[in-house]
């Protein structure tokens, strides 16, 4: 450890985790591309990459936790991690922004234009409508795609005030329970923390179960699929990436539940807990936007 005595800022020794992570990412992506092209070794390379990546995450975070428990991190290091997490979440917001942008663009510009709307300032030429798909009428959600032979439309769309509303309630409640758990950390009440986190994890898992149920209903009953035109595209890509983030968030919650059980946190020093709760709130807020713009309006 090249822990410097003169500066209090902890400078980690050379680490083999990042290069391992890079190699794992390469293996994952190389494998994924070959998988998509139907090469038999693709899935194996992909799986190997993911396994090494998980090993790397485990090892790297393990090293950080050890350093943290050994008391190497002062307030300044803590602040670096805070800035890091804040701006990481910001970059995630921008990633979702791209998909929300696609949704708004389809609804405000692409669909009206295909439907021959000349009144909106967001449409340019209506020639596509008149020359290629004169029978297409603009309507959101789109049940009848311009070319039904290529993209068969869904029979039905997701109703907002059924399962999605329950899911909204679940996530909002989980936001409350994690805050309640945070109070527990600040007041140094172990049971309070563990129960709060356990509730949050269970709520996260129930959200995912509801979401899975909804997807099954969509595919089997509504014929609403990833390939059923722009509605299915935006619906599944937005809720799918959100679901992926809920999954990651739930895993992160489980990790800090274990760490809370191992007494890793104290009222003054529990950044990992806060980082995960920020992430969870971010996932929560994204869902609210999804509920309003994908399901409801």
């Amino acid at each position: 450890m090249s822990h410097d005595t003169k500066s209090s800022y902890y400078l980690p020794a050379p680490s083999h985790w990042p290069i391992l992570g890079s190699a794992a990412l390469f293996c994952t992506m190389f494998g994924a591309a070959h998988w998509l092209h139907g090469n038999s070794y693709g899935p194996y390379l992909f799986a190997l990459g993911i396994a090494v990546l998980l090993f790397m995450v485990f090892g790297w975070f393990g090293a950080v936790i050890k350093e943290s428990l050994a008391g190497f991190y002062d307030k300044q290091v803590d602040h670096s991690y805070r800035w890091g997490m804040v701006w990481f979440i910001f970059s995630e917001v921008m990633f979702f922004g791209a998909f929300f942008g696609a949704l708004f663009y389809a609804r405000i510009s692409a669909i009206p234009e295909l439907g021959g709307d000349t009144t909106s300032i967001f449409t340019a030429s209506t020639l596509t409508h008149y020359l290629i798909w004169p029978n297409f009428t603009a309507h959101w959600p789109v049940l009848h795609n311009p070319d039904m032979a290529v993209f068969a439309g869904p029979k039905q769309v997701m109703e907002a005030w059924g399962l999605p509303a329950i899911n909204t309630l679940i996530l909002l409640t989980s936001g409350a329970t994690i805050t309640w758990a945070h109070w527990g950390v600040v007041k140094d009440k172990r049971k309070h923390v563990l129960w709060g986190l356990l509730f949050t994890v269970l709520l996260g898992i129930s959200f995912l179960i509801c979401q899975a149920h909804e997807y099954i209903t969509a595919y089997e009953q509504y014929q609403l699929r990833l390939d059923s035109g722009i509605y299915g595209t935006t619906f599944f890509m937005l809720t799918g990436f959100h679901g992926l983030h809920v999954t990651l968030g739930t895993i992160m919650l489980i990790v800090i539940l274990i760490r809370a059980y191992l007494n890793h946190f104290n009222p003054k020093h529990h950044f990992a807990f806060e980082a995960v709760s920020w992430y969870w709130h971010f996932v929560d807020v994204v869902w609210l936007f999804l509920f309003v713009f994908v399901y409801w309006l």
């Binding site: 050379p14 990412l25 921008m94 389809a106 692409a110 340019a124 795609n145 311009p146 990833l226």
Partner: protein, 532 residues
């Protein structure tokens, strides 16, 4: 390169020896200088790779007719040349400079998140391996231009497109982590007393660049993810048959793409500010306004993207909005150019290599800016769109802009990094050959474009022959002149050239010049005192 006589440290930092020791040092390093060096060498290597592709393009265009390479291969060359020069040369070079300089300029021991820093770098060689592997597979490499517009890249894209998509995911990941690190470093690692409004302009320019990266790299990741889904999972983001729109791709891409070009030039502005001030022996004129201008350009960069799409068939109101917003960019950019000129004005000027490149930057980047203004005018753009005029424009802002600034920065800081002065005569030869050849290459392209020669076509009508020949001759001189740069850098790194003291340049000011040359392995282990 960074073993040093070191009066700040009590102990000499020991570097491991032997093959595995050296390999391990560079693979596992968490040191900002080592990582900066890695970034800069990656950039240098990719500069010659991308440059070789440019020479293939120019060789093909030396005379009309499909002569040397097939049209398909020509398309692959233009695509990969663009991708490599943007993502593999200018961006890594700027991050390399940031790694070396930011901790030294703000009085920090290292970057805020050293292991993340290592990861940001080491993702890149893997990403470029993935990208270059497309040349070695059955079927063509990506061949739809560096902007990879749908449906050329979705419905009609070759198989290798997926490798490009994943490679771009990796580059985005690297950039985002790098940007997070820069922000955490600048916000959290400044020496006591180094307030934001005392920071060198280079550091400011990188702070703003980091925010631009965070704002747009995830959107690029979104764009390529949509492409991937359209290609393989049946979605219809960019397919009108399912209610999507190919123009949506252009919106998402340029929402990334326009801030991206400012990501390429912003750190260059920072470098030029440092260099111009040092060799004029004056403080930068209008420090505050230089910073406000950087911030203004960054904010404007988010509302000008559709000027790349004037002929794509977008609504008139949109075109007008983006035309006026684009013209507004000229205001803060003008502030910067005038402030640089005012800094030089009545200064005690000397013309070492960094200053020569900076002065060339002022003239030639401004020219590129003016042709950009011409392109921003919607009705005029209907004429210029997709011609060599556009090629001339963006090469004028990228080479004499970003690349010249990188060269200025290398000549300016290399003596600090290595403790040795580069060979000034060779540097002057490099400068004059470069600056003359670049104008021979790209100036005629303005005429070609205005006369109607389209971009990205391997063949052309006979009347364009003369200017194309001139451009090709210029390109080859430009390309081979860079060997002088390489030789000069390698010589200096290997310890040729006279030793230099802490303050390499007479007119230089800033914390990095208070450290010995070469600086200690961990820059400021004790935070320096900041005076005024």
């Amino acid at each position: 390169m960074s073993t040093a006589v070191n009066d700040v440290h009590e102990h000499e930092h020991e570097h491991p020896e032997g093959f595995w020791g050296v390999l391990g040092r560079w693979l596992f390093t968490t040191n900002h200088k080592d990582i900066g060096t890695l970034y800069l060498w990656l950039s240098f290597i990719m500069f010659f790779v991308g440059g070789a592709m440019a020479l293939v393009i120019r060789a093909e265009l030396f005379q009309p007719g499909a002569r040397i390479v097939s049209p398909e291969f020509f398309n692959q060359m233009t695509t990969l040349h663009g991708l490599i020069m943007v993502f593999g040369v200018v961006m890594p070079a700027m991050v390399g400079l940031a790694n070396w300089q930011i901790p030294m300029m703000i009085g920090a021991p290292d970057m805020a998140l050293p292991r993340l820093n290592n990861w940001s770098f080491w993702i890149l060689p893997f990403a470029f391996s993935l990208l270059m592997s497309t040349f070695f597979m059955s079927g063509p490499a990506p061949d739809f231009g560096w902007t990879f517009y749908a449906p050329l890249s979705t419905t009609y894209g070759p198989k290798s497109t997926d490798f490009m998509i994943f490679s771009i995911h990796l580059m985005g990941l690297s950039s985002i982590m790098g940007a997070i690190n820069v922000i955490a470093t600048i916000f959290n690692m400044r020496a006591p007393g180094m307030t934001l409004m005392k920071m060198p302009i280079f550091v400011w320019s990188w702070l703003v660049t980091a925010f631009l990266l965070l704002g747009v790299m995830p959107v690029l990741a979104g764009a390529v993810t949509m492409m991937l889904a359209d290609r393989h999972f049946g979605t219809s983001f960019f397919n009108a048959a399912g209610g999507g729109d190919p123009i949506l791709f252009q919106h998402v891409f340029w929402f990334f793409g326009h801030p991206e070009v400012y990501i390429l030039i912003m750190p260059a502005f920072g470098v030029i500010s440092e260099v111009v001030s040092t060799f004029s022996r004056k403080k930068i004129f209008g420090y505050r306004f230089m910073i406000y201008a950087i911030v203004a350009i960054a904010l404007l960069s988010f509302i000008v993207w559709a000027h790349h799409m004037f002929t794509a068939g977008i609504p008139l109101v949109t075109e007008l909005f983006f035309m006026y917003a684009t013209m507004l960019v000229a205001v803060p950019t003008g502030v910067k150019v005038f402030n640089w000129v005012a800094t030089i004005f009545k200064g005690s000027i000397s013309f070492e290599a960094p200053m020569l490149f900076a002065i060339a930057f002022l003239f030639l980047f401004t020219m590129g800016g003016f042709s950009g203004l011409m392109l921003s005018i919607v009705p005029a753009d209907y004429q210029y769109q997709d011609t060599y005029f556009v090629v001339a424009h963006f090469h004028y802002v990228l080479i004499p802009g970003s690349i010249f600034a990188i060269m200025a920065a290398i000549y300016y800081w290399l003596p600090k990094w290595t403790g040795h002065m580069y060979n000034e005569t060779m540097a002057k030869w490099h400068f004059w050959l470069t600056v003359i050849s670049i104008n021979i290459t790209f100036f005629p392209m303005h005429f070609l474009g205005l006369a109607g020669m389209p971009r990205r076509i391997p063949d052309y009508a006979l009347q364009f022959t003369d200017f194309n020949r001139i451009a090709t001759i210029g390109a080859f001189i430009f390309g081979f002149s860079q060997l002088l740069f390489l030789i000069n850098v390698v010589r200096t790194v290997r310890g040729h050239g006279p030793r230099v003291g802490a303050k390499v340049w007479e007119g230089a000011h800033g914390l990095e010049w208070t450290l010995p040359s070469p600086p200690p392995y961990h820059s400021f282990t004790v935070p320096p005192e900041i005076k005024n």
